[in-house]
Amino acid sequence: MIALLTGMLATAVLAGGVLALAALGEVLAERVGVTNLGVEGLMSLGAVVAIITVVATPNPWLGLLAATVAGAAGGMVFACAAVIMRANQVLCGLAVTFMGLGLSATIGHDYAGMPSPATFGHVAIPILSALPIVGPAVFAQNLLVYLIYLVLPAAAHWVMFHTRHGLNMRAVGENPAAADAAGIAVTSMRFWYVTLGAGLAGAAGGYLTLTYVPVWSEGLIAGRGWIALALVIFAGYRPFAATLSGLLFGLITALSFVGQARNWPIAPAILNMLPYLGTIAFIIVPVVVWHRIRRVMAAPAALGVPYHRDIR
């Protein structure tokens, strides 16, 4: 039983990291009022670029860096269209997803099925890793886990809710016209946070191929980008809530693994549906059960609306 719980929690922490990182990136973009539906494609791009990089130079940190840069570059392409040229965000996002998935499969064609030559190793923290259940699951993971669950959300939370810059950032997402009148550069704020968020999406893809599933194949991301988008809504656009809901969905993934490993009388295909069905349930049920949640967890008011200074 203890071994089962440990295994489940360890898988949850590992698998949830992908979603947590991508969801955190999307929180940044959506807080400044831009819906980036390209996450799935950007993650795919990050995943394949990470593999290609570590095949060339077997250093996982370089792979992660390359994945982040690839994601950010894709995000800049999206932001050029959706922020600077103010094109429709839904369409541009879908286009970036198509381009990311197609491009990553094209450039990754020769790398399909090749195991990643370098991955992030597990590092056991002395004393803490000796704790029952939590020890091996949380304190004997790769180092990125602390970055994803602790450092990055803490930094995002502090900037967003405890600095003047964060206030400006949220103002751009809530009321860009007022922010503009107050002298905040709306376009550049949106551009750079979309780019940063896309960089994190790319890093999430890199994290996937450098730790959790260390091999590239077409369709590897398998909807994780879309789940991350749903988690942002579920988390009410808050950094810590987004990473924690990533962990929660890691648990659902772990459940389907345990089911397959222990030969539960349920077909693997049905167990694999769990994360998707779980995500749908988690964004519908809270709204139905508790109506006030809609106000508490509301989206930024100007989310998805391009800002034209000319329209008054």
Partner: protein, 351 residues
């Protein structure tokens, strides 16, 4: 600050068409550049593309075969866009329709004249059931439909491959990951083109007439344009949302039925072939007009058909996805830029 451009609140169809043609050409030029850089001869590829699409009888047949599901999924996404909703789950409803049709086709035996309508009915019902939860969540709890409809695509794809590999697996020939060939099929009309093609054309035409010429279609449009005003005018907005989304699911499922019963003749994993996603592109090109779905589906079918040629030239099927994404990307930029027109500085100084 002297402004050099002015943004128009609305844009004329001619202006839009010019910008879109420019966008498509830009996307194709970029693709050609990419292919040339990766060491392939663009002239040779172009010749192959023309020969395998409009330049031969087989090409034209393939074009019509590709167009059939695209018209239906494109119409599915178009009807929801009329009420301001994005049904990104046409792919999943396509699978649901295919599952429903294949289920009847495999297990109900009888004359084709009886079985085919039953397959269609059951498939359409499955498609509507597949979109039911996102529909109710959207209409009664304002839950974002983009994400709920999309996530169900993955569930539908898993369910389809589960059925094709597991319980419905072909035990006679032992083919991998596919059911047995269905005993009934939609009759062929011209070469490999089956009656699904004219039927899809008719469905789109009826839909266009309903949405443009009836009171119901008008109410749908108003509910999308301004829900508050529509409610104030006594239009049951929620009921319209539910009806439109279920209709959308039914249309996407119809594409699945025609693919299973007319083209593939069996249920297999990945049968939807991204037709649901490409339906979104068709709907974007059609800009909310059902009749525009026809030329848009033709363009999309042309791109997909060209993709087959690219595959014979050692490019993966996903390259087509990237090219489609590029076309969609350029068009969304072109649509926005079409709103701008240059203004002379003297005019700016006058008021």
């Amino acid at each position: 600050m002297a402004r050099i451009v002015q943004r128009l609140p609305s844009v004329s169809p001619t202006r839009l068409l010019i910008w879109r043609a420019g966008a498509v050409i830009a996307a194709l030029l970029l693709t050609t550049l990419f292919l040339a850089l990766s060491g392939r001869d663009p002239a040779l590829l172009a010749e192959l593309v023309v020969r395998s699409t409009v330049g031969s009888r087989f090409g034209l047949e393939d074009l019509a075969l590709f167009m059939t599901p695209l018209m239906l999924t494109g119409a599915a996404v178009t009807v929801t866009s009329r009420i301001g909703i994005w049904n990104i789950g046409a792919e999943g409803q396509f699978y649901a329709g295919a599952i429903g049709a294949a289920g009847i086709g495999l297990f109900v035996h009888g004359p084709a004249l009886l079985v085919l309508p039953l397959m269609t009915f059951c498939g359409v019902l499955c498609g509507m059931a597949w979109i039911l939860v996102p529909t109710l969540a959207r209409a009664y709890a304002s839950v974002n439909e983009i994400i709920t409809t999309l996530l169900l695509n993955f569930v539908a794809a898993l369910l389809t491959s589960y059925l094709a590999v597991g319980p419905w697996h072909d035990r006679v020939t032992g083919a991998l990951a596919s059911t047995a060939r269905l005993p009934v099929a939609i009759p062929d009309l011209w070469g490999v083109v089956h009656w699904g093609f004219p039927l899809a054309l008719a469905v789109v035409a009826i839909l266009a007439a309903t949405l443009d010429r009836t009171r119901w279609g008008y109410e749908v449009r108003i509910s999308g344009a301004n829900p508050e005003a529509a409610r104030y005018a006594g239009i049951p907005v929620r009921a319209r949302i539910v009806a439109v989304m279920l209709l959308s699911g039914a249309l996407a499922a119809l594409a699945g039925v025609s693919e299973v019963a007319g083209t593939v003749h069996r249920l297999q994993g990945g049968i939807a072939n991204n037709f649901g996603y490409f339906g979104i592109v068709v709907a974007v090109l059609a800009r909310g007009s059902c009749l525009n779905v026809l030329p848009a589906a033709l363009l999309m079918a042309f791109i997909l058909d060209s993709g087959i040629v690219l595959q014979t030239q050692q490019l993966t099927a996903s390259t087509v996805l990237a090219i489609t994404g590029l076309v969609l990307f350029m068009i969304s930029i072109g649509d926005e830029l079409a709103h701008y027109r240059p203004v002379s500085t003297s005019k700016e100084a006058a008021p």
